[in-house]
């Protein structure tokens, strides 16, 4: 992380620290009297110690290789602050990012709110354009839903490495160049099932052609013409029932950054 003066660091710690006071004192590391958060900051304790140290080694070496901060953080709650704003502020106030433009990406999970957000800054906004963020979201969302946080963070690390490698070629991923999922073998049984259902509908139609005997339940063909008259007609309202069903909620709220200096994506799980 970019080294900052202790006074600036302290000011940041005070401003954001009110949201998560324990984190700064327990998790912060000391480096030449300046306190920085490690690249794996697990205040919500979602990872085992072993998972945490492996992930930290991974992110540290990745960040150093590309001179680009790749970090993960978890908190218990955002205390009511919108997830994208909270993550962006957390990033800024804790001086994430390397280089003059604070280049980096931060993956934040708030376990109490069951929400997550990924924020990018500086060169990060070039590496992960909107197509890339959408792709990243699809990759981490299933594991979050399964509450496999270590899995989601490792997936995040893998994807970041892939994106950084591609961006180093001066052509960051976009929708046309992003790797596609291999065409799933599941399509074989699905196609057979679709084929069978369609074939069954067709052959049942052919079968129905063979049946022409149907009883006539009504004698309406034999009503003497003009013989019908209505002598009594009244309609009585009895009661009514109202049912309501909740509209499906969009779980892609809080995407994007809170201001123009951040990019990002997120959701709930």
């Amino acid at each position: 992380m970019k080294k900052q003066s202790f006074a600036v660091m302290l000011a940041a710690a005070l401003s954001v620290g009110s949201l998560f006071p324990a984190a700064l004192t327990v998790q912060a590391e000391t480096d030449d009297n300046y306190e920085f958060l490690p690249r794996v900051y697990d205040a919500a304790d979602l990872l085992t110690d072993e998972e945490e140290s492996q992930l930290l080694d991974r992110l540290d070496s990745l960040s150093e290789e590309y001179d680009f901060d790749v970090a993960v953080a978890t908190v218990q709650s955002t205390d009511g602050v919108a997830m994208n704003k909270f993550t962006d502020t957390f990033y800024d106030d804790n001086y994430y990012g390397l280089g003059d433009d604070y280049d980096g990406i931060l993956f934040m999970v708030s376990i109490g709110d069951r929400e997550w957000h990924i924020t990018t800054h500086g060169y990060g906004m070039t590496v992960f354009n909107q197509d890339g963020l959408d792709y990243l979201k699809e990759k981490v969302q299933p594991e979050l839903k399964d509450e496999d946080f270590a899995g989601a963070f490792n997936e995040f690390a893998d994807q970041c490495e892939m994106f950084l490698e591609q961006a180093a070629t001066e052509e960051p991923y976009d929708a046309s160049t992003l790797p596609k999922e291999p065409f799933s073998l599941m399509w074989i049984p699905i196609s057979i099932a679709i084929g069978f259902v369609l074939a069954l509908l067709c052959t049942m139609g052919m079968r129905a052609q063979l049946k022409s005997v149907r009883s006539q339940e009504s004698a309406v063909d034999y009503v003497r013409s003009g013989s019908m008259d209505v002598t009594r007609s009244n309609d009585i309202f009895l009661y009514n029932t109202v049912t309501r069903t909740a509209k499906p909620k969009d779980d892609t709220s809080d995407t994007g950054g809170s201001d123009s200096s951040h990019g990002g994506t997120g959701g709930s799980f």
């Binding site: 074939a199 052919m206 079968r207 022409s212 019908m228």
Partner: protein, 361 residues
């Protein structure tokens, strides 16, 4: 003031009570709530409905004139027991219902003389064409059904029918609903309003036919309807020449039940057409009284072909007046399986290719 002491729930028919807390009528069985006036109006309307009365006068029919049946013989099928009548010049060799040989059992006697007959209008050639058309384009039909020598065995039969004429008074209650949808930011709403709709009135029926032969299923004869009954003429024995006639073995009294079912359904359908402005209308309760219900005995022309395939019996019929051809046909299981597998393969490949294209492009 109404003299009804116990009110019925319009929803479930249980005894409904006044709920002092709600200041409304509430059914203790189905928990539906109603305004007092609604329950009163419903119960008064329901109480004025009259009970069913669906009786008919006995079949008219007439007795045979002297010597009229002299030249008519009765043939009995040794296999299915079917009894057919043919004049001496026509004769009969095989049973039109099951295809087995028939033997002469004696001179025709007894039974009622038909009031009316609709003479055959379509000949054997037309019947064979009708059958070929009926078999055409049926992919799953076993090939053996299209053999010409078999089609030749189609026979013209006068089938006995009871014809029912009546005037009816109907008093019917329908349950009707109207549905409305709307939404706000969080929810979709569905409101269903329920109504009891009463309709009463008069309706007349002329000559509802009910098959008087136990050898032909009612389903088959009803599928051959309608007949143009205005073309019926007074019965004369010469009309039978060249054809056979089936003797009725289901009496008019036994056929009444079917006629009543069809009258009730027709009244429910006819009066439902006067119930407008609802999304669903279902008959809940109908009371029918018949006035001057009369029964006639008539013979209607039917071309019949009987076929046995793999131990099952198939009977086809063509309306000898209008040419309408009906008869359920069997499914050739091996042809069915071939088509099912072939189409499954074709559609599966198509579905896979479409999925692959969508994924790749």
């Amino acid at each position: 003031m109404s003299d009804i002491l116990e009110y019925k729930c319009p929803c479930c028919g249980g005894a409904i009570e006044f709920n002092s807390k709600l200041q409304k009528m509430k059914c203790p069985y189905c928990d539906t709530e109603f305004d007092m006036e609604t329950v009163k109006e419903f119960n008064e309307a329901a109480a004025s409905q009259q009970a069913d009365d669906m009786t008919w006068e006995n079949a008219s029919g007439t007795d045979w004139k002297e010597n009229e049946t002299d030249k008519m013989s009765v043939y009995v099928c040794q296999s299915c027991g079917g009894e057919i009548v043919a004049d001496e010049s026509t004769g009969a060799s095989s049973c039109p219902f099951c295809g087995n040989p028939v033997v002469i059992s004696g001179k025709f006697s007894g039974d009622l003389r038909p009031d009316f007959i609709i003479p055959f209008k379509l000949d054997k050639k037309a019947a064979k064409e009708g059958l070929n058309k009926h078999l055409h384009g049926k992919i799953l039909l076993p090939k053996v059904f299209k053999k010409e020598n078999h089609i030749d065995e189609i026979k013209g039969v006068y089938v006995p029918f009871w014809l029912f004429d009546t005037d009816a008074t109907a008093d019917i209650r329908y349950h009707a609903t109207r549905t409305r949808f709307w939404s706000d930011d969080e929810y979709d709403y569905t409101e269903t309003s329920h109504y009891s709709v009463f309709r009463a009135g008069n309706i007349g029926f002329d000559q509802i036919p009910v098959d008087g032969s136990s050898k032909i299923d009612n389903d088959l004869t009803e599928s051959l309807e309608p007949y143009v009954i205005s073309e019926a003429v007074d019965f004369q024995t010469p009309y039978l020449a060249g054809y056979v006639a089936d003797k009725y073995d289901v009496s008019a009294e036994e056929s009444v039940e079917r006629a009543n079912q069809r009258v009730r359904r027709a009244a429910e359908d006819a009066f439902r057409s006067t119930v407008n402005g609802y999304d669903t209308v279902t008959p809940e309760d109908s009371h029918i009284q018949l006035h001057g219900g009369k029964t006639h005995y008539a013979l209607f022309p039917v071309w019949l072909l009987s076929t046995t395939w793999k131990g099952n019996h198939y009977l086809f019929g063509m309306n000898g007046q209008t040419g309408k051809f009906v008869g359920n046909l069997p499914v050739d299981k091996s042809i069915f399986t071939k088509w099912l597998l072939g189409l499954t393969a074709g559609f599966s490949v198509a579905a896979y290719v479409i999925a692959w294209l969508v994924h790749t492009l």
